[in-house]
C-alpha cells in the first residue's frame, strides 16, 4: 500500500540521518554500566536512591571544581528530583532548605551599599566553586572545568560517556607516567580498539594489537573515552594509536572517597554510575514530565487517527478513486 511505503521511506531517511550523526571520533565508544540505565527508554524513570547518591558524589567530589550554574536548590525537591517529597512543595522541603542553607552566597547589597552575604535559600542557584572562569582556569592549570548543568546533553553518548570516562581511567599500580601497550593497561587495548585509524582497520577486517608506549604530559591524564588524539605522545606505530585523549582531570573517584548515607559500598563503578545518573537528571529535570506527557499525547493521537481513518472510509465509500 502506498501509505506503508511512504512511512518506510520516512523511517529509512530518518534512520540514515541518525546514523550519519554517529560518524567521526577516535575515542572508545561509551557504554552504560552493567544492567543499563533505569531512566532510558519511553517508560524509563530515575531511581531516586541513585540520584541522591549521585548528588552526594557531586557535592563531595565534583563541586570543588565544577559549577552547575543553571540549577537552583529548589530543583532538588521538584518532582523527579533527588529529594522530592510529596509532602512538601519544592521550596518548603526541609531537606532542600537545609542543603541550600549550608552555602553562603552573595545576596545583593545591604542598606549601606556593601555586599551582603547570606545563607542560600531553595530559590537560589547552586553556588559556583569559583567567582569566574579566569579564577577557575588559574586554579586548574589553565583548564576550565566544564559547567555540569547541561553536560549530559552536551556529550555524544550522554550519561554513558560520563560513566565510561569516570570509570575508564587506566588502573595501573606501576604507574610512572608511561603506559605500555600491551600489558600493564588492558582496559584501553581491549574492546573495540578504535585507534585514530580504527575505522579503516575495520574496513580491512583486521584488528591490530597495540604495541608501544604512551607518555602522559605533565598535568594531563590519559583516558580512552576522552575525545582527542594521543599521536604526539605515542611511541609506536602511528597507524595504530591508542584510542582516547588526555584531560586535565585526574582520576578523582577513589574507592571509598564518598561515605554513602544509604550504606551502599562506594566503588568507583558505583560512584561513576550514580553521578552520571544525577547529571542526566540535572541536564533535563523535566524529562519525567516529558515522557509521561508523551504517552498521553500519542495515545490520544492514535485514537484520533483511527477515528479519522474510519471516517475517511465512510466518506469515500461510494467514490471510485
Amino acid at each position: 500500500m502506498t501509505f506503508t511505503r511512504l512511512l518506510s521511506v520516512a523511517a529509512i531517511s530518518l534512520g540514515l540521518v541518525a546514523s550519519a550523526h554517529a560518524a567521526g571520533g577516535s575515542e572508545k565508544h561509551p557504554h552504560p554500566p552493567e544492567g543499563g540505565w533505569t531512566f532510558e527508554g519511553p517508560l524509563g524513570e530515575f531511581d531516586q536512591g541513585a540520584l541522591q547518591r549521585g548528588y552526594q558524589v557531586y557535592t563531595t567530589v565534583c563541586a570543588s571544581c565544577h559549577s552547575m550554574k543553571l540549577l537552583s536548590y529548589r530543583n532538588l525537591g521538584e518532582k523527579g528530583g533527588p529529594f522530592y517529597s510529596p509532602d512538601y512543595p519544592a521550596n518548603q522541603n526541609p531537606l532542600v532548605k537545609a542543603i541550600a542553607a549550608e552555602n553562603e552566597i552573595l545576596g545583593g547589597l545591604d542598606d549601606f551599599g556593601d555586599p551582603l552575604y547570606r545563607a542560600a535559600t531553595p530559590a537560589d542557584r547552586f553556588k559556583s566553586p569559583y567567582p569566574n572562569d579566569v579564577a577557575a582556569r588559574a586554579a586548574n592549570g589553565g583548564a576550565l572545568p566544564p559547567d555540569f548543568s547541561a553536560l549530559v546533553k552536551a556529550r555524544p553518548g550522554g550519561a554513558s560517556y560520563i560513566y565510561s570516562l569516570l570509570s575508564g581511567y587506566p588502573d595501573d599500580p606501576e604507574y610512572d607516567g608511561i603506559f605500555e601497550f600491551p600489558g600493564t593497561f588492558e582496559a584501553a587495548a581491549d574492546g573495540h580498539g578504535d585507534g585514530e585509524h580504527g575505522d579503516e582497520a575495520h574496513a580491512d577486517g583486521d584488528k591490530h594489537e597495540l604495541h608501544g608506549k604512551l607518555e602522559q604530559p605533565l598535568g594531563q591524564y590519559y583516558n580512552p573515552y576522552m575525545p582527542g588524539d594521543v599521536t604526539p605522545q605515542w611511541q609506536g606505530d602511528p597507524r595504530h594509536v591508542p584510542p582516547g585523549g588526555f584531560l586535565a582531570m585526574p582520576p578523582v573517584l577513589i574507592e571509598g572517597i564518598v561515605d554513602y548515607m544509604d550504606g551502599t559500598p562506594a566503588t568507583v563503578d558505583q560512584m561513576a554510575a550514580d553521578v552520571a545518573t544525577f547529571l542526566a537528571w540535572a541536564s533535563e529535570p523535566k524529562q519525567g514530565n516529558r515522557k509521561s506527557a508523551g504517552l498521553k499525547v500519542i495515545a490520544f493521537l492514535t485514537v484520533f487517527a483511527v477515528l479519522l481513518w474510519l471516517s475517511y472510509h465512510q466518506i469515500w465509500r461510494n467514490v471510485e478513486h
Partner: protein, 486 residues
Amino acid sequence: MSDHQSTYNPQTGFEKWLDARLPIIRLGYDSFVGFPTPKNLNYWYTFGGILAVCLATQILTGVVLAMHYTATVDQAFASVERIMRDVPYGWLLRYIHAVGASMFFLAVYVHMFRGLYYGSYKEPREVLWILGCVIFLLMMATAFLGYMLPWGQMSLHGANVIVGLFGAIPIVGDALKTWLLGGPAIGNQTLQRFFSLHYLLPFMIAGVVILHIWALHVPGNNNPTGVEVKDVKKDTVPFHPYYTVKDGFAIVVFLIIFAAFVFYAPNVLGHADNYIEANPLVTPAHIVPEWYLLPFYAILRAITFDLGPIDAKLLGVIAMFGSIAVLFFLPWLDTSKVKSLRYRPVARQFFFGFVACTLILGWCGASNPDDPLPFMKLGQDRLVVDYVDTNGQPASSLYSEYEEAEAFIGGLPADANASIGIRKGAAIRFIHLAQLMTLYYFAYFLFILPWLGLSERPAREPDSIHKAVLKPADGAKSMPAAVAAE
C-alpha cells in the same frame, strides 16, 4: 479551477450582508470547501496540508518562545535553558519548535519529490512550482538563522562557515560578509539581527504560501495521472469533506511521528555540541549543519578543484547555490509533454536514481570527506620516514612494517632529524562519492531530463482521471506493472 463557478450560497442574513461587501466567506468556501479536487490524489498529495500545519506550529511556538528568549551573547544560551527548566511547559514549546524544523523539512522534501515525480511543475503550474522554490529558499534561510539563536557551539561555528561562503564572492565578498554580520566578526549585533530576521522570514513564508495556494487554485491540482481535469462532475470531488478527512488522517499520522521525536528523542536530530555555550576560541572537531542541509553541504565540499580563473572555494559556493537555482528552471528543463512519471518508464528509473543521489549526498555531508567508504579501502596505509641524508638533502623512505621503519631510524645518524608519518593507502573516499553524486545531481536536471523528454517513448496516458480510476482500468495494459500494483 479558474472556470469553476462559485458554489457558495449564503444562508443567513449576516452572510448575505457580508457577501455583498467583503466576500471573504465565499473566498474561503470556494478555496477549502467546494473546491473541485481530482478524485485520484494519493497520500503523497497530503503533504501540502501537513506543511501548512508545520508552518502554523513553528509560528505559534516561535512567537511564545520569543517572549522568553534573550538575544544577547551573554544570556542567549542560559535563556534557552531557562525556557526548558523554568517556563511552564517551556520544554514542550522548545522541543516542538526544534523538532518541528526537522519535521518541516522532512515534509517539504517529500512534497518536492512528489512534485518531481508527477510533473507538477509543468505547464500550467510553472509559477506554482517557482513559488514553492521561493518558499524552500526562505525555509532554509529561516532554519539557518534560527539555529544561531540557542548560541551553542554549532550555532556560532556553523554560522561562521556559512557566512564565510559569501566571503568567497570576488570583489564584494568581504564587504558583503561584514554587512551580513554587522561587523568584522560574529558578535552580539549578529545574534540580534539573526533573531530579528528569524522572526520576520516566517511571515514572508506565510505570504508566499498564500500566493502558492492561489497559484494552485487557478489551474487546480495536478494528479497522479498527470491528465488534466476534463469533466468536473466525473473527475473531481469537493475538497470538503473528501480531502479534509484524507488530509486530516495523514496529518494526525504525521503528528504521531512528530510527537514520538518530541517526547522520546527530542535531541536525536540535533548535535550534542550545541548544548555547549558558544565559545569563539574553541572550534568543534566536526562542524556539520543540521541534517536537512547536509546534501547541499556535501555539494559545497565536493568541489576541490579550480576551474580556469574560478578557485575551488568559489566554485563550491556556485555549485551549492546552483543546486537550488536549477530547481527554478525545472519547468523548462524537462522537455517531455507527459507529466506523470507513471507513463515514463525510463525517466522513472532516473528519478529513483535522483532520490538515492540526494540521500547519498546527505550521507557524504555527514561524513569526513577523507574517510574511505565502507569496504572501499584498496591499499594499506604505509609508514613514511622523512630524514636528512648525508648530503644534507631531505629524503624519505617507505615501510609497511613499523619494526623496519624503527630499525631504519635507529641506523640513521643523530643529525638526520628523522620523523615518521603515514602515507595513506589508496581508497575510494567519501569525497569521491560526493563528487560522483554532485555530477549526477546536475546531470539529472541539465542533461537527463531535457534529453529524455525528446528521446523517450512514453506509455499511453489514460484518457481521463475518471477512466483511470475505474476498475478494471481501461488503460491497464498500457500501464507499467509497478503502477498497476499501486
